[in-house]
């Protein structure tokens, strides 16, 4: 394509600005990563910017051997796996009938689901309901009160509607039951949408901490996000640096940085694989149902 001089300059300036923006998005991580791997002396003297100085892996050893960290990490994994599975399953079970015109009352049910996106009871009534159904201080307080997201129901419902009818009809002729069609035909061909909501639910479960603040007092049930908050923001930690020798090696900053990195890694691992799906998923949700 022929470009005028002005267009060329514009294109160069534009690309540079975007590059700067991308660097701003990434820079804090690189800095934290560098901190987590640097020596006490280098951090205190302020030499560490984007490259570790005097390589030091002790912070990671300290974090990965802290029983409180391991416990919290385990709770977070558990709630992410159980919560995501349950959420995706029940979202699909609710969305499939709602995608069928022959289901009576589907319009009303859909309206009531969408309405919850605009008006909610708020924190206190929700807390009182969770309390009265006896979920306080239990692991299920992480799963059940946020089981289904209205937005995800709409995404999946819209995708199910786009599945070709011929596929389902031919399965029906082959003697497949209604649920058989859902699990053997519709869900397998809806994998892009299911991947999208899986990502949303999993990230929600991994990241959420306020439900733990609100519903759980039992320390043995605290997820990773609460551990991080206590370590970094409240400066309360039970990591006893074993002796003076180690105290000289590990700066508080490195310990915090290492904890941040270890907690981010699981998201960074799944993110690139799911990225190609979620753009499509968002668009499906925004087409109003």
């Amino acid at each position: 394509m022929n470009q005028t001089k002005g267009e060329k300059t514009f294109s160069i300036v534009n690309n540079c600005l975007l590059l700067i923006f991308a660097i701003i998005c990434l820079a804090p991580f690189i800095h934290i990563l560098a901190q987590s791997l640097s020596s006490h002396r280098a951090i205190v003297s302020g030499e560490v910017i984007f490259w570790p100085i005097e390589l030091n892996v002790y912070p990671y050893v300290e974090i990965l051997t802290d029983p409180a960290f391991l416990k919290a990490f385990w709770i977070s994994i558990l709630r992410t796996v159980v919560g995501t599975f349950g959420s995706v399953l029940f979202t699909c079970l609710l969305a499939y009938p709602l995608s069928k015109a022959y289901i009576k009352g589907r319009g009303a049910i859909l309206f009531l689901i969408v309405f919850t996106m605009m008006f909610q009871g708020g924190m206190i009534p929700t807390f009182l309901v969770v309390r009265s159904v006896g979920l306080l201080d239990s692991f299920w307080a992480y799963i059940i009160p946020n089981l289904i997201s209205a937005f995800c129901v709409i995404i999946i419902k819209n995708f199910f509607e786009s599945v070709p009818k011929e596929l389902e009809e031919s399965a029906l002729i082959d003697g497949c039951s209604n649920l058989g069609i859902l699990f053997r035909i519709v869900i397998p061909v809806s994998m892009p949408a299911i991947a999208t909501i899986t990502l949303f639910y999993a990230v929600f479960q991994w990241n959420s901490f306020f439900d733990a603040v609100l519903f759980v007092n039992d320390r043995s049930l605290f997820p990773l996000q609460i551990y991080l908050r206590e370590l970094i923001l409240l400066d309360e930690s039970n990591i006893a640096l074993k002796d003076n020798f180690e105290r000289q090696l590990v700066a508080n900053e490195s310990l915090n940085a290492a904890a941040l990195i270890v907690s981010t890694v699981p998201i960074l691992l799944v993110y690139p694989y799911l990225q190609r799906y979620f753009v499509k998923g968002i668009m499906l949700g925004s087409v109003k149902g």
Binding site: G6, I32, G46, G121, L128, V129, R229, L260, T264
Partner: protein
């Protein structure tokens, strides 16, 4: 009505019932699998929604939502007379407004810039990096902020000192706290917010641009006459939806970063409701505060939706 009319009416209602029954028999399993989901929405969305009636009652745990005693507008009157509420309300309003002013145009500009990039690999890479912050929890972003902005060892303050100024305690200074809140929110949401605009931009027919070029329109004219009009409906809808959340201010973020040093500028409705409601067990009063907030948001959405529709753009209903 004649005798015959009644009987035919009865008959038709019978056949309707029969049809319903047949429909139910044929798809009973599909009705059944909806039950857990519907129960979820009833118990965790609609019962709390009904539970806001305790804003007009004196909630006692023993009596529950229904049987607690009515007190009318008492909690709302107390709320309006409470100086703390005035402070919290104006903080909420200011922080939301700043977030809207700085955060709303950001994704649009970012999407427009990204749309001009011709090399797909470069575009994808920028997108990947820009979406990333969205996937981090506020605890992690808060942790990063504490580390980076620390007055003693944070890299930002080292740079400020290097330039010869005094270091700033960003998270404990009333003058800086809101700036940090708004800036970190913009940083976290700008890339993700652009997705929907990018999708709308991808739907523009390239022939429009070709035709405009032949007519001698330069880049700016193309932007003004083709791109912006195409984006306008999306912008309007997202603007209304944003207004609906205008008083939510991003509770997790503020809860994470708030400390007593900055209560005067950073304490917002939700953090106030949490402190007074959950930790002090003033359930009815804080429900009233929360209800006031939701009601304002709903009214705002309805008004702006109406205005935008009058201007000829699609609203959200």
């Amino acid at each position: 009505m004649t005798q015959g009319g009644v009987s035919s009416y009865k008959q038709s209602s019978k056949t309707v019932n029969k049809k319903k029954l047949a429909n139910f028999r044929k798809y009973w399993d599909l009705y059944l699998i909806m039950v857990p989901g519907i129960l979820f929405f009833i118990v965790f969305k609609y019962i709390p929604m009904w539970g806001v009636i305790i804003a007009f009652k004196d909630y006692s745990a023993f009596a529950g939502f229904a049987a607690s005693e009515w007190v009318g507008w008492e909690h709302f009157i107390r709320m309006f007379q409470d100086n703390k509420f005035h402070e919290v309300f104006s903080n909420t309003l200011l922080i939301s407004l700043y977030k809207l002013v700085w955060g709303f145009p950001g994704p649009i500009i970012f999407a427009l810039m990204l749309n001009e990039v011709r090399r797909m690999f470069y575009k994808r890479s920028i997108q990947t990096l820009a979406y990333l912050p969205h996937f981090l929890s506020w605890v992690i972003v808060g942790g990063i902020l504490v580390q980076v902005l620390s007055p003693s060892t944070g890299v930002v303050n080292e740079f400020i000192q290097f330039l010869g100024f005094d270091s700033i305690y960003f998270l404990g200074d009333s003058e800086w706290f809101r700036t940090v809140i708004v800036a970190s929110d913009v940083w976290k949401t700008i890339g993700w917010g652009a997705i929907i605009y990018l999708a709308a931009l991808a739907g523009i027919d390239p022939q429009l641009y070709e035709a405009a070029k032949i007519d001698g329109a330069n880049k700016w004219r193309q932007l003004w006459h083709i791109t912006i009009p195409t984006l306008l409906p999306t912008i309007c809808i997202l603007f209304i939806l944003n207004l609906g959340n205008v008083l939510d201010v991003g509770f997790e973020q503020i809860y994470i970063l708030l400390n007593p040093l900055v209560y005067d500028v950073g304490d917002v409705i939700e953090t106030y409701v949490y402190r007074e409601g959950i930790t002090q067990a003033q359930f009815s009063y804080t429900t009233a505060v929360g209800l006031f907030k939701s009601a304002i948001a709903l009214v705002l959405v309805i008004i702006v939706n109406k205005i935008i529709k009058k201007l000829g753009q699609p609203g959200i209903w």
